[in-house]
Symmetry: C2
Subunit: 342 residues, 2 copies
């Protein structure tokens, strides 16, 4: 049984998921990375994976057979308990002294296979394929948001790990989705900061940020009519990027189709730039969207974080939470802008 | 010039340190790890390093020559500006809209070479050598605490990276010390939680924690009269450990010599256990001690965190702050306890 536990002092939760445990000696060497020829995510290997939850399919093709463009399956090694709850029974159980708080980690853990071809870099997808991936994110978010109360879900984290240094053990391009019975601290902190900023100024800080960044241009990689791709002012990682809507949009799943197409093209170009500046590139792509069922959720403003993994977080970073970044975002943006895309 | 920047929303600071920057192509491959035969930290290679700040030396030996047991030098590639300030001029400069806060990153960055021999694992040091290392930590902390107001220092983070996966680029056993002009959020959060716990209960949460863990024994790796070595209830990493004094001690640098000897022996045994369970082991060792000059600092309770780096933080962890740990601390403690030490 996976379990959520809170740190005895900090508002920091961990997922203890022994089902994912390997024997200690299996940690000794680098994890096996499944590549072409041994890839369970390629078209034709559907029998190697759990049954699909959702797929974009050619007319007439069969479930869990060939003929798909994007395929969503449950994760074979889930980090959470996949039992569907009929009632939201999940709640933290504080002990009298508060030192050992825990909650049952019931939720959802899915894999989104982004192409039937053995694509390994996000920049290799076309704009239309990238838009289709974002559309599938939206479809799963809409379904899970609708079922959130029944299933006890409070937040869904969608992310993509590309490259071994970024934690990918299957190189075939895929995203993951983990639904949780609590709002993670990072998301809660962002929402709280936004709510406070709004209370003080009457404006959304992300809207302000997008406007200020586009106006200065110093950290802009590329901007379109509706979106800005920026190297954040306080980037933790070299060549870190953030894609954010210039107008206010709380829920990613509410974004209109033409917005999604515009965001997808900008995201794909951004990742293609990154893959040219840092070759080979390893990076995490993280979607932050409004949590479920909170009255202040409309104050959220969805955005995508791109975290290249060129330098390792070490003792200083884990000890303080302060990252050392040897590449200023101004320099990173200039280098990324300078890439000539085909 | 290194610069501290605050995230536009979160209370999260980064150190932008371009002096540490390499050209982008230098990120492409794994960093060069300097090993025996090419090691600037071995006895006899003193000329390859900056002049020592402090050393434990044999009587009659010369500064920056042979004949030392532990040697402290400035870091050749500092993450902070090493200018000594005559006045604490460092302050954050919030902009009207608060989106782009920054502070000059003036501070201290030193390397503590822990042995003249080419030792690569902390478990290879003797108890006496480990105690001497902790004594040198104390000496530097005392000096920097005394100079804190003059130099504008608010916190000193001491840490040790062992193994490539933990971020070490020189395998010769060494610690680092970074002094900062602000209290990092993680430390400030711990101090705030402790202050609140004390206000509610009249007790220190770390004292309570040590007592509860020793009483239950489930997560104890080893306990002595004055110290507990425990796998934390909400461990982020497999085989994570925490060493904490069972009695209240705010400042590590105030710990008595016999306490330090007891802590050192327990720490060394704990790391030797870890090096046996996870071979080869990569880990970060992090000392948390009270920040400088805060009235509530006596509510802090120093402790050492040991973070093994067997699994990579990936998109989910960076996106949510929630770590997935496949080894429960109860199982980790049982495996670590079972190791037969020589």
């Amino acid at each position: 049984m996976a379990e959520l536990r809170k740190d005895s002092l900090l508002d920091r939760w961990v997922l203890i998921a022994e089902e994912r445990a390997a024997k200690p000696q299996e940690f000794d060497d680098r994890p096996v990375v499944r590549r072409l020829g041994d890839c369970p995510f390629c078209e034709g290997s559907e029998a190697e994976t759990p049954n699909e939850v959702l797929a974009l399919r050619e007319p007439g093709s069969r479930h869990d057979g060939r003929g798909w463009r994007i395929r969503v399956i449950p994760n074979k090694y889930p980090a959470v308990n996949l039992r569907v709850l009929s009632l939201p029974t999940v709640s933290t159980q504080p002990q009298p002294d508060g030192l050992f708080q825990q909650a049952s980690a019931d939720g959802v853990h899915e894999v989104i296979i982004e192409s039937p071809r053995h694509v390994t870099m996000a920049g290799e997808l076309s704009d239309a394929e990238t838009a289709a991936v974002l559309g599938v994110y939206q479809a799963r978010l809409r379904t899970l948001r609708a079922e959130a109360a029944e299933r006890g879900l409070r937040y869904v984290q969608i992310f993509r790990n590309v490259g071994e240094a970024a934690g990918a053990s299957i190189e075939h391009l895929h995203s993951q989705l983990i639904g949780l019975p609590l709002v993670p601290t990072l998301i809660a902190d962002e929402l709280q900061a936004a709510t406070q900023h709004f209370a003080h100024t009457g404006r959304c800080p992300w809207c302000d940020l997008a406007e200020a960044e586009v106006a200065s241009g110093r950290r802009i990689v590329e901007a379109t009519a509706r979106f800005a791709l920026v190297c954040p002012y306080a980037s933790r990682f070299p060549y870190e990027m953030q894609l954010l809507p210039r107008g206010h949009e709380a829920n990613f799943d509410d974004a209109a189709d033409d917005h999604i197409r515009e965001a997808a093209a900008l995201l794909r170009r951004g990742l293609a730039r990154l893959e040219r500046v840092c070759d080979p590139a390893s990076y995490n792509v993280i979607l932050h969207t409004a949590p479920f069922g909170l009255p202040e959720a409309p104050r959220f403003h969805w955005h995508v974080e791109i975290l290249p993994r060129l330098v390792k977080a070490a003792g200083f970073e884990w000890g303080t939470g302060v990252h050392i970044n040897p590449v200023s975002p101004e320099r990173a943006a200039a280098e990324l802008r300078a890439v000539k895309l085909g």
